[in-house]
């Protein structure tokens, strides 16, 4: 029986300006599974995620992907236009304004903020808006870089239960987080 993997990586290493960041990282991500990337600050978690996304290339090693849809990525930068309103930003992300969106906005306490210019929201509120595309995603793989940064307790619980549900729906998650997210995930540590 052949294992259909979504992502398979072998012996990834990354050097920057002749200095080694991490080496010999191998992993496999299948459907319905989660991968938790850990490591101290500066160990290369974000770089590894960018290699998975295809933005960066590893210095050595190979990575193969087997996906039928785009990955859904949320990184440190939240890709929101600061000078546009929340509603305009959602239009730019092709998110329709409909009932499911309204319920979602109520859940994260941002229902009345549709007309607010993004630069007037707090850091955590902006993060929640950025997470909307994760909540409404239609990809089979979610890639999240420190998703809980800036979120209050209620939002964190909401996110964690959402991610646990997604795992049940035949999706996969790769994430890096210092905070324990309480979802079933394999772990790789980048500190050698």
């Amino acid at each position: 029986m052949t294992m259909t993997y979504l992502i398979q990586a072998e012996n990834l290493s990354y050097k920057i300006n002749e200095k080694k960041l991490f080496q010999n990282i191998s992993f496999e991500v299948n459907a319905n599974s989660a991968l938790h990337i850990t490591g101290s600050n500066g160990s290369g978690k974000t770089t590894l995620l960018r290699i998975i996304l295809g933005i960066s290339k590893p210095t050595r090693g190979s990575i193969e992907t087997n996906l039928t849809s785009d990955m859904c990525y949320l990184g440190h930068k939240n890709a929101l236009k600061q000078y546009l309103t929340v509603e305009d930003n959602l239009i730019l992300q092709s998110i329709q304004h409909n009932k499911p969106l309204d319920t979602l906005l109520k859940d994260i306490d941002l229902y009345d903020k549709l007309d607010v210019v993004v630069s007037n929201l707090s850091f955590g509120q902006q993060k929640k808006i950025a997470l909307l595309k994760v909540f409404l995603n239609e990809s089979e793989l979610l890639v999240l870089d420190e998703p809980c940064v800036g979120l209050d307790g209620k939002a964190q619980t909401f996110l964690t239960s959402f991610l646990q549900e997604e795992l049940g729906k035949n999706k996969s998650i790769i994430f890096s987080s210092h905070i324990n997210l309480n979802i079933d995930a394999k772990s790789i540590n980048l500190d050698n």
Partner: protein
Amino acid sequence: MNILYFEFLKLRKKSRGWLGPILVFILIMTAFPLTVEFLNEDLEQAFFSILWIAVLLVMMLATEDIFLEDFNDGSLEQLVIHTESLSFVIGVKILIYWALIGIPVSVIGSIYCLGITSSYEMALLIFPVLLISSYIFLNLFCFGNSLTLTKGSVLGTLITMPLLLPLLVVLGKVVIAINLGLNYFDFLILLLGVLSIIIVTIPLIISFVIRAHLE
């Protein structure tokens, strides 16, 4: 076609992005006759040089943070992940910038030309030249800007200057050609040819450069 709408939305709301350059252009063109003595002949001769240089400067201003903003807030990364052809998106972005800045500047430039030379024919002939040259300038400045995305745009502008100077020489010749009544259409075809090559190659090059920046 969604991309067209998105980029338009982004630029339209950012009024300092397109209104600023247009106002600077108006400022330069209005200030010029005030700083020269009011002799009609001298005004005409110097006018076209000022026109081309003003268009050049305005296009430089317009592209100052065309990619920087998207780079800084992460939208560029999202584009690289989700779009198959980044160069198409970049081409559309440049097109929108040209539509919101280049076309108004060309119209205003032709009107000023009418005002200074009092010749409808001249203004009408200059208009397509302005349209094409503003688009070429825009493309080249975007290229320079993309090379030094993370280092600020001054170096990028300096780098593109050598590429623009041949174009400026050609533009000077066009004006002489119009005045003497020869070869105008040849020049127009030349400019169109250059434009068509640039429209296709520059977005491709810029997408390669941006991917290299994000690595």
